[in-house]
Amino acid sequence: MYFKKVVIVNKLGIHARPATKISEIANKFVSEIYIEKDGMIANAKSILGILMLVASKGTELMIRAEGPDEIEAVESIAKIIEEGFGEEI
């Protein structure tokens, strides 16, 4: 298992478009990937789950993955969150 903590930096937080991006990336990996916020756990491959985390700017998230490509999976998702999804910071 591999995990990493990230903080949301973009102004609008995880709304529809970022959630779409996360689930798009997550679905490229075979590992099970989860995102956690204050004890709530969402399947990163499910846009609905991600959306319902309601993660706004400044929120800390834990990304966790287990499987053959777990490191790459976590790093890829962490990267896009840290980059603010290419949106306004």
């Binding site: 709304h15 529809a16 959630a19 779409t20 399947n43 499910s46 789950g49 959306l51």
Partner: protein, 510 residues
């Protein structure tokens, strides 16, 4: 019927109303839950087809819904809600939408609103009743909100504007319209129901006006775009038709006509007074009608035309601008100068009574043609004196009549066809030569008045769009001999009664 909203893309435009309504009645329809996955992949393909070849950004908008439908938690939630797909999906999406709404966050509110429309569309798809949406070209669409698929259809359809009831500023459909620069107003309450009773919509920044009349002519004479603005009488006298307009967007339908009078008060009353806003509008109009001429009348404010925001003054038109609101005048003239890139704009000065007023305006603008409204007895009586300072004249009959007769034009004893009015018109016209002289007042857009003016030798009339067909019909029936008889009768008449009788007689036998 006027409604207010929130402008997403500001602009002026008008067109036929095209309503995109949503079906919200799904009672009594059953589809077995076993078909869920097949339906989801069917809808996914359908949506993907719509975004095929479009910008990556739009594909992402579609993916949001595709990923939502395919997400494991969505599928398991739906399956847990019973055996009827229609009902189960309805419950799950409603629940999701309500959850998002309760988060009290603008963005989630937007998605929540959008989800409801998405739900209806998906359910329509399931029932095989999805509307393929053949949107009429050049129309203005009116809807509660759109789905991503509908808004993509809309932007592909060459529409002129969009009116939405939703307040979801950041919803995908609104973002798509915004991205494409389509004039859009949102938050227009009850727009769909109201629009059902009207034929056309005029969009003006934050305001929508629904009407059934304004553009009827467009339907009656579909060729108006290609019509010539020069009409011949039976024996070949040429009369030129110009147009009086209030809304900037009216230029969309009449590219072959000079604008003889653009009343800018309308802009003022709508708060469009900054230099840049004015410039954009004038420039847009000038480009639309080029190489035809755009005559912009300076703000005619003051006296009874005072908007509440202005102090009440006893003067109007150019006197008001020169003596009470110089800054407004300067701003309007600068805007006109900046907009006149194609050199087809002229300036018309309202309520002029002395030479000095023209000289003052001339000081502000050197290389644009200037004309005056002949609408005070003083200016009519010294028309020849103005010739040195102006490039054209435009006579306004309403004010000229009421100031000559010293009576309000709504009074029962007001005589629009009083002999004195005709003497003044005839005198002013004959002293204006060789400068172009047009009549833009109401008299030119009444059957009797039009005949009288042409009989005097006036060859340019500026009229509203709605009167074009009728004016052409009348002009084409006139001839020299009839016109001479009419003018002789008018000039020799003692009373209004005689003039009316004569004009009515000739109108009948035309």
């Amino acid at each position: 019927m006027k409604l207010k909203g929130i402008p997403v893309v500001r602009g002026y435009t008008f067109g036929e109303v095209f309503i995109i309504d949503t079906n919200e009645e799904f009672e009594g329809i059953e589809v077995p839950i076993e078909q869920l996955e097949a339906l989801i992949s069917g809808y996914t393909n359908y949506l993907l087809e719509e975004v095929e070849g479009m910008d990556e950004k739009y594909k992402e908008y579609a993916k949001f819904y595709i990923n939502l439908l395919k997400s494991p938690s969505f599928i398991s939630s739906v399956k847990s809600k019973g055996n009827n797909v229609i009902k189960a999906i309805s419950l799950v999406i409603d629940e999701l939408s309500n959850n998002m709404l309760s988060l009290n966050d603008e963005h989630y509110k937007s998605i929540s609103d959008e989800l409801k429309f998405f739900k209806n569309e998906f359910l329509d798809f399931i029932r095989g009743k999805i509307d393929d949406l053949k949107i009429r070209e050049n129309s203005i669409i009116v809807a509660k909100n759109l789905t991503v698929r509908q808004s993509l259809k809309v932007v592909k359809s060459n529409i002129r504007g969009a009116i939405l009831e939703t307040f979801a500023l950041t919803s995908h459909p609104v973002l798509i319209l915004k991205d494409k620069g389509i004039p859009t107003i949102i938050g227009v309450e009850n727009a769909v129901n109201i629009a059902k009773n009207y034929k056309y919509a005029i969009l003006n920044n934050d305001e929508v006006e629904f009407t059934s009349q304004a553009l009827e002519l467009e339907i009656k004479s579909p060729n108006i775009l290609h019509m010539s603005d020069e009409i011949e009488t039976r024996d070949g006298l040429k009369v030129k038709i110009q147009l009086n307009i209030d809304f900037p967007a009216e230029v969309e339908n009449v590219k072959n006509f000079d604008i003889g009078l653009f009343r800018t008060e309308y802009l003022y009353l709508n708060g469009i007074i900054s230099k840049s806003e004015q410039k954009d509008i004038y420039e847009y109009m000038s480009e639309k009608i080029y190489p035809k001429i755009l005559t912009i009348r300076l703000f005619d404010l003051g006296e009874d035309k005072v908007p509440i925001s202005l102090e009440s003054t006893s003067v109007r038109g150019i006197r008001y601008l020169l003596h009470y609101n110089r800054e407004l005048l300067n701003r309007q003239i600068s805007a006109i100068k900046l907009a006149n890139k194609l050199k087809n704009i002229r300036i018309l000065i309202p309520m002029v009574s002395s030479i000095e007023e023209v000289i003052q305006v001339r000081k502000l603008v050197e290389d644009i043609d200037i004309g005056i409204m002949v609408e005070t007895p003083s200016s009519a009586l010294i028309t020849d004196r103005f010739k040195k300072y102006v490039q054209f004249f435009s006579l306004g009959t309403n004010d000229l009549s009421q100031y000559t007769l010293a009576i309000n034009r709504n009074d029962i004893s007001f005589q629009q066809f009083h002999p004195s009015i005709f003497r003044l018109i005839y005198y002013s016209f004959s002293k204006s030569k060789p400068k172009p002289f047009s009549v833009c007042g109401d008299m030119a857009s009444s059957d009797l008045g039009l005949i009288a003016l042409i009989s005097f030798g006036i060859r340019i009339v500026s009229i509203p769009i709605s009167y074009i067909s009728r004016a052409i019909e009348i002009i084409e029936k006139l001839d020299k001999q009839t016109l001479t008889q009419i003018s002789r009768k008018i000039i020799t008449a003692y009373r209004e009664e005689e003039i009316l009788k004569c004009l009515n007689y000739y109108l009948d036998i035309l």
